[in-house]
């Protein structure tokens, strides 16, 4: 796994010392709130509805067991005993005291973690496919490139004050699990006909109040040009991006207003100018970084398939869990395990300190010490021997983490919403909790299959509702919570933005409305093989509208 080089370590330590001093000066009254606020935001500290919130970066969602134990310790010592994993592969602590934050950051630095670039108009934490490096379907592990981008962007003086925040995602597989087409820049690692590595490049995707699917501006960018091309995109954006209006400042608006073709020309021109510069990535440098992400030494030719089949047959609960939460691995005899943080009726993405410790122990014992955080607010054990699946399942059962619903209708994404977020217009977590309870029954979930419900508590769309097969947006109307439904959104390689289905639903009616939509799908699908998204794309919105609002 990648470890900080000495430069990084010194930089993070210096930032902690700096912030300790800034907090002390704020508490002593030497800095006022106006002066202090940008400083605390640069260190991931927000003031939310009830308290401060600390957002900690988990670059490309990869954690060691050791780091997870530290997060558990922080949750237990400085917070209320839990943390919240977010749709940006970060973790948020909801109740830290400001005067404790320097100590928390110091503890994080001990395990090479920090809260830098989790806020502000800079290049944010680079995200990657949570199955990176182990997915059976990938061209190459995207994380070394995410890391190269992270290093380039962390300290880039030119890009610390962009018109707006800037998000980059990288996937190594054609099947997109990282929603790259909803990012400012999305890179898909691929091979060309000659077998060389490079990237398809997408720009201008995003959600929020003006959702846009990204435009592909390059089908193949050679590997060595990753930074030069990124720099060219950022320069063109930095030059033309609107600074006069916060809502029009993202690159997606620039792409929309200028046109992808025109912008592409400018980016290519800039790229040609700087291509031969120091930004060109030497192959040996890429291979050096790649070495940090080298797969662990898997035991060869582990038996396990036959025993697994028998164990599945003997225990329907285990069988269901394997069916939904275990994914094929690129190494023979191994599996990828998704740990659902969506127990029926619980807040999506929350884990208690004890659960974090349990995951750390399981990862240390069964997953070569490694854990991933997915943007779907689940955890992943990337390197489990198939022969160990039963033991892993048993340990997860003990920790209350064996919910068999990954990818099913109760695997809901929800932003913090009005229960925590100062910007929210309505709650999102309780809606997720109630939908989860409504669809709790396992046979029904299996029958419904792959349905992604995504819920946001305001137009900022942190819950990715635009990309939900069923998206729910919470608004406030006349002092009441109202929920607007969108259908047919998708964050994968067939990215699309959901269509608003009609007028919104009161809090008391939203779960029924979701059920009506699901029942309509079940009635109209061509068979169990036709997923919700496929059926919606075939049928269009009409039958769903009819079911929801009558024939009007």
């Amino acid at each position: 796994m990648y470890r900080y080089d000495e430069f990084d370590q010194a930089f993070v330590a210096e930032r902690v010392t700096q912030f300790r001093d800034q907090v002390a000066r704020r508490l002593a009254g030497e800095l006022n709130e106006e002066q202090f606020k940008p400083l605390r935001l640069q260190n991931g500290v927000y003031l939310q509805l009830h308290a401060y919130m600390l957002r900690v970066a988990i670059p490309y969602g990869t954690l060691s067991a050791h780091q997870m134990r530290k997060l558990a310790h922080i949750a237990r010592t400085y917070d209320k005993g839990y943390g919240h994993f977010t749709t940006r592969q970060n973790i948020q602590f909801n109740w830290p005291r400001l005067d404790d934050v320097p100590a928390i950051l110091e503890e994080l630095a001990e395990v090479e973690m920090h809260a830098i670039q989790t806020s502000g108009n800079c290049i944010r934490n680079v995200t990657a496919d949570h199955f990176a490096g182990v997915a059976a379907d990938e061209a190459a592990d995207p994380r070394p490139y995410a890391e190269i981008l992270r290093q380039w962007s962390s300290l880039h003086p030119e890009f610390l004050f962009l018109p707006r925040k800037f998000k980059i995602a990288v996937t190594g597989a054609a099947h997109d699990r990282a929603a790259i087409q909803f990012h400012d820049i999305g890179y898909e690692v691929k091979r060309n006909e000659a077998g060389e590595l490079g990237f398809a490049v997408y720009i201008g995707g995003g959600q929020g109040r003006t959702p846009m699917v990204a435009k592909k501006i390059r089908d193949f960018l050679p590997e060595e040009d990753l930074l030069a091309y990124s720099e060219a995109i950022l320069r063109v954006y930095n030059l033309h991006g609107r600074r006069d209006n916060k809502y029009k400042a993202r690159i997606k608006i620039l792409v929309f207003e200028t046109g992808a073709d025109v912008l592409k020309e400018e980016i290519e021109a800039e790229f040609t100018k700087i291509r031969a510069s120091a930004l060109r990535l030497p192959a040996d440098e890429i291979r050096r970084i790649e070495a940090y992400f080298a797969p662990p030494a898997y035991a060869i030719a582990l038996p396990g398939e036959a025993a697994l089949a028998a164990a599945r047959q003997a225990d329907p609960g285990f069988d269901r869990w394997v069916a939904s939460n275990v994914t094929g691995h690129r190494a023979a005899g191994h599996s990828i395990v998704t740990i659902s943080l969506k127990p029926i009726g619980a807040p999506p993405g929350d884990a208690t300190a004890d659960q974090m410790d349990a995951v750390a122990d399981i990862a240390a014992r069964y997953s070569h010490d490694e854990i991933r955080v997915s943007h779907e607010q689940n955890l992943v054990l990337p390197h489990v021997a198939t022969a160990d699946l039963r033991s892993v399942f048993d340990a997860l059962v003990t920790a209350g983490l064996a919910t068999a619903n990954a990818g099913l209708i109760t695997d809901i994404i929800a932003c913090p919403g009005l229960d925590y977020c100062a910007l929210a217009t309505a709650r999102s977590i309780p809606v997720a909790q109630r939908i989860s309870e409504r669809f709790a029954e396992t046979a029904r979930q299996a029958d419904i299959g792959d349905v992604k419900i995504k819920i946001s508590g305001c137009i900022n769309a942190c819950g990715h509702h635009h990309a939900g097969h069923i998206g729910i947006l919470g608004l406030e109307k006349k002092g009441e919570e109202v929920y607007q439904i969108t259908l047919g959104g998708s964050g994968d390689e067939t990215a699309s933005i959901g269509d608003i289905v009609g007028r919104g639903f009161a809090s008391d009616d939203i779960v029924d409305a979701v059920e009506t939509i699901v029942d309509t799908y079940l009635e109209r699908r061509e068979g169990a093989d036709e997923s919700f998204l496929a059926a919606y794309r075939r049928l269009g919105a009409t039958p769903f509208k009819k079911a929801l609002y009558g024939a009007a």
Binding site: L27, E33, T77, Y78, D100, E476
Partner: protein, 100 residues
């Protein structure tokens, strides 16, 4: 009727301003402001407490008194959640180890 709320600087928790100028986590003692002049005057005091680094982001919240002797209840849904805490279950289960 209005009350004045803010977040305490050191720990960020929600507090309410009482008539004697203290800030308390408990809404019971919040000063009940009957008219605009009273709200403006109380906000002035609150802003002075911002300058002396006790609280941040003060503002007035519209409340009703549901019955004689009862605590004020904010009119807006958002403010009710802010007073009562998250509605999501386990989030309230345990206090921070390091209390104020």
């Amino acid at each position: 009727m209005h009350i004045i709320t803010a977040n305490r600087l050191a720990d960020g928790l929600v507090v309410f301003r009482s008539g004697n100028g203290r800030w308390s986590q408990i809404i019971t003692s919040a000063e009940r402001l009957e008219d605009e002049t009273a709200v403006e005057a109380a906000l002035e005091f609150a802003l002075a407490d911002v300058r002396s680094n006790r609280v941040v982001d003060p503002y007035a919240v519209e409340v009703v008194i549901p019955a004689l002797g009862k605590d004020p209840v904010p009119a807006r849904f958002r403010e009710r959640i802010r007073v009562n805490g998250p509605t999501t279950g386990h989030s309230l289960a345990r206090p921070r180890k390091r209390a104020a």
